[in-house]
Amino acid sequence: MNIDELKTAVCRSLCADVQVIERNDGYFFVDTPFEFGDGDHYSLFLKFLPTGGVRITDRGTTFMRMSYLNDLGKFREGSRGRLLEQVVATADLQEDRGEFFMDVSGEELGSSLVRFGQALTHIHDLTFLNKNRVVTTFYEDLREQVQGIVGSDVAENYIVPGLPMAEAYPVDLFVPGERSPVYIFGVPDQPKARLATIIIQYLRLHLSADPKNRFKSLVVFQDQANIPHKDRSRLINAASMMVDTLEARDDMRFKLEEALH
């Protein structure tokens, strides 16, 4: 097989994997090899534009699918919202109320369809970021936000001196204060809510009896609404102060400054 035959074979194979199906609502469904984890193919549609060219659109179906297991609000704010904005900007997509689309000329259609499919993959993959990158980003954002309020005098993964088995009970962020230090715990998910509750209760048990060891604890949720009620209640009872999301910057500043000075 020479290079021309190879090209022909690749082109024929690619074309065989793509079908354009006319719908009765003015759109064309484009069946491609792009698939979600449940075996359903991506919903890619084409529509002729009155000004010439073609609109490639998902008609909002990607967000609808993501809503089965997720509250869509969390993709519009915080770390996930910023990642979504990056995906949309990088792929040169436009968005209208959850519909992602791009307008292209006929000549660009093939490469644009591939780029559009890749972008939908990145958007859908935001649902997998709950326990990985978003959590990492959350802790980074938390540290930066606290440093923005109190300056650089912040210790990460702080081990409390003199505490029995202290290494088993680390504090996410330690901020020394004039009256007493503030121990800050970031809470992105249910397991961390439970761990933070245990650590705060342990610290209270061993430190609160001695006035010179007194401290205040601040819990910052990534999204309080994602924490089951009972876990949230236990944590609220254990901690001195709470901030319900990283977006509540002014509230975090107020509480930190009040506790430190």
């Binding site: 919903s43 909002g60 809503s67 089965y68 869509l72 959850g98 998910d189 249910q190």
Partner: protein, 161 residues
Amino acid sequence: MEISLSDERIAELIAMPKRVTNPKARQVPDAKHFKCDYKVISVSGSEEFTIFVRQHSEMLDDFTAGLKWHANTGEAVILMRCNGASHPHKNHIEGTKFSPGHYHIHKATERYIEEGYDPEHFAEVTNGYTAIEGALHQLCIECNISGLDTAAESLSLFTLQ
């Protein structure tokens, strides 16, 4: 998915009698679809579920009525989804595929979980409904759910804009 589920456990979860606790839940617009979620508990009180209903605001054939189970680990697993016919589907393990125009029901299976796919990857074509009302009715029948006033292909659950 972090938890493992056997086919026996999936069948047990689907078959156990359940009831809807908020049958008056209202549909709300969200992005380009309407959504309505019903809270469901097993009659024994030991298991919690949610029925999620989604209808695209323009495409009548793009909808789903599904049941997700809330494991005590905090993870939610979709056990069944009665889907519209707007898109193709492929069952990777069996190698079967069907084109747009086929209403289909996704069901959680142990084999797809073990292979790392979404639990409810496997789907079969159905002739049991052609609209969201019928899909919700079918879901309630197949998953032994009471407390919702459903009927096959009758009154419109969603008012299209």
